[in-house]
């Protein structure tokens, strides 16, 4: 076995199993497990939140995309960290805390009745299992690549990824997730920047340093690849718009994103987390993209393709401890996303589907007993397909696109109007459009509109606004809730 995997294994044994040992016996009921007894401080909220949307997209996808689109791909973490996370910490999260709900589907239930909550609980769990399958494959890919292929990708790297995702949350739930994420966020940022500095050192010793990278791209008439503010239609349609839409809408209706927010000590601690979360997430992709751009100037590495550029550069040019550190950083990114999805999915299935929909008299003890087996079931649902099928990009977008109409329905129901008919028509029509565009894309759909997320987004916005303007409905939930609270206080 190669030495980098030994360094990475030592790290995860200490951090993950150390936290398992620490939380042994401390998590006594379902509230401790799913909300951590609402004890998280702002820096733990920030670390957890920053790592949830920080997965293979911020790292492996971006270094690959940078080969074609240049440093402009860094808009990805800027949008997620600088826009999506502040929206979650300043509006969406505090709204959910104000409504005093335990899960996201409960807020939909308060707006449009139980059926809408159950629909979100069921559909979102299924679609995010699909997205988590992609993260499991990416985690397995990171292990396979950075061990130099010493461990077979299928099944062993996938199985190791599955086990690591499980042990990240299964013993201590949200408390374990938050502590491990705080440690991982620090190690990931420090580790990836150390690797970038080592890359600079290697370039200085063996090539012409970072200046040589500039000269390489200038000679190819591609100096624009080293600039962030060089917009192109490809950058807009492949990075900026999809990242903005998919995060601000689809990720915002997912239980996993709100795990640290529900577990925060107070809403103030959530707000305080805004800038730290934005900074951690915003600066996370930079070392990977720069290493990718530098690696592609080395002919032997460029020949292996952009997908493996950073991995091949690390294996060929960096010392084993740094390769181990890079593996820890990559795994910290991908595991945190996968495990938060698993914890969120298990919470929704147990709380919304099993308890609220099927067995309303379920005791809290039974709910607690079901949580850990349900995390394993959710993990297997993502891991087993990952063993037999590749992740196809349209299917990835198909999964994401189910969340888009749900977000607009939820947002309008929160701040403007709750019309059940408008909500259901919007959801059903846009789901139908999502199916048609994924599996039978109309040949007349022009350019980017051939991608399912664009027609789904546009039709969801148009339908929910027009239908709410026409159909009768109640005032927005927030206004009603605040009025009810004020009258109760009076």
């Amino acid at each position: 076995m190669s030495s980098p995997i030994i360094y990475a294994a030592i790290y995860f044994i200490i951090v993950v199993f150390g936290s398992c040992f620490y939380f042994r016996g401390k998590v006594k009921n379902v509230d401790d497990f799913t909300t951590g007894g609402k004890t998280l401080k702002w820096y733990m909220v920030a670390s957890g939140l920053a790592l949830i949307p920080l997965g293979s997209g911020h790292t492996m996808n971006l270094w690959e995309a940078s080969a074609g689109l240049g440093a402009g791909v860094l808009f990805w973490p800027v949008i997620v960290g600088g826009i999506f996370l502040p929206l979650a910490t300043l509006w969406f999260g505090p709204w959910l805390r104000e409504l005093n709900v335990q899960t996201f589907p409960e807020s939909l239930e308060m707006q449009f009745g139980p059926a809408m909550g159950y629909l979100n609980g069921a559909v979102n769990t299924a679609t995010w299992t699909g997205i988590c399958m992609g993260e499991t494959l990416a985690t397995g890919g990171a292990i396979y690549g950075l061990t130099g292929g010493a461990i077979p990708f299928k099944p062993w790297c996938i199985i190791i990824a599955f086990v690591l995702i499980m042990v990240y949350v299964i013993f201590g739930g949200v408390l374990q997730y938050s502590i491990v994420s705080t440690v991982n966020a620090t190690v990931m940022i420090v580790g990836s920047y150390i690797a970038l500095i080592m890359t600079g050192g290697w370039l200085s010793a063996n090539a012409m340093g970072w200046t040589g990278v500039v000269e390489h791209y200038t000679a190819l008439d591609q100096a624009w690849k080293l600039e962030i503010f060089r917009f192109s239609p490809d950058l807009f349609f492949q990075i900026i718009i999809p990242v903005a839409v998919l995060h601000i809408t689809a990720a915002a209706v997912t239980q996993g994103v709100y795990i640290p927010i529900f577990a925060a000590k107070s809403t103030q601690e959530v707000r305080k987390a805004t800038f730290l979360a934005a900074c951690i997430n915003g600066m996370s992709s930079f070392p990977w993209v720069l290493m990718g751009l530098a690696a592609m100037t080395i002919p032997s590495i460029a020949a292996g393709g952009a997908k493996l550029s950073v991995i091949n550069h690390a294996l060929q040019n960096l010392p084993a401890p740094i390769v181990g550190l890079l593996m820890v950083c990559l795994l910290a990114a991908t595991l945190s996303t996968g495990s938060s999805v698993m914890l969120g999915n298990a919470t929704v299935i147990v709380n919304v589907i099993l308890k609220r929909a099927c067995f309303p008299n379920m005791k809290p003890e039974t709910e607690f007993k079901l949580m850990r087996p349900m995390i394993i079931v959710c993990g297997l649902a993502a891991c087993v397909p990952a063993l037999v099928a590749p992740m196809i990009f349209p299917i990835f977008l198909w999964c994401f696109s189910f969340g888009i109409p749900m977000f607009f329905v939820w947002l309008v129901g929160m701040v403007w109007k709750c019309s059940k008919a408008a909500a259901w028509i919007t959801i059903l029509v846009t789901y139908l459009i999502n199916f048609i565009w994924t599996f039978a894309t109309p040949s007349w759909a022009p350019g980017p509109f051939a991608l399912n997320m664009y027609p789904v987004t546009v039709s969801a916005i148009v339908l929910i606004i027009v239908l709410n303007a026409i159909l009768p409905g109640e005032t927005g939930l927030l206004k009603r809730h605040r009025a009810a609270q004020a009258s109760k206080a009076a």
Binding site: L90, W210, I228, G282
Partner: protein, 35 residues
């Protein structure tokens, strides 16, 4: 040096975007919510 410049640009962009969102929240939030 250009690497550092690129890092500063990216970091500042994340800060500026989150700062704008924070300012919008600060201006629009009612009843004196505390930071």
């Amino acid at each position: 040096m250009w690497v550092f410049g690129l890092f500063v640009q990216e970091f500042l962009m994340a800060l500026v975007f989150s700062g704008i969102i924070y300012l919008i929240w600060r201006i629009t939030s009612s009843n004196g919510q505390k930071w």
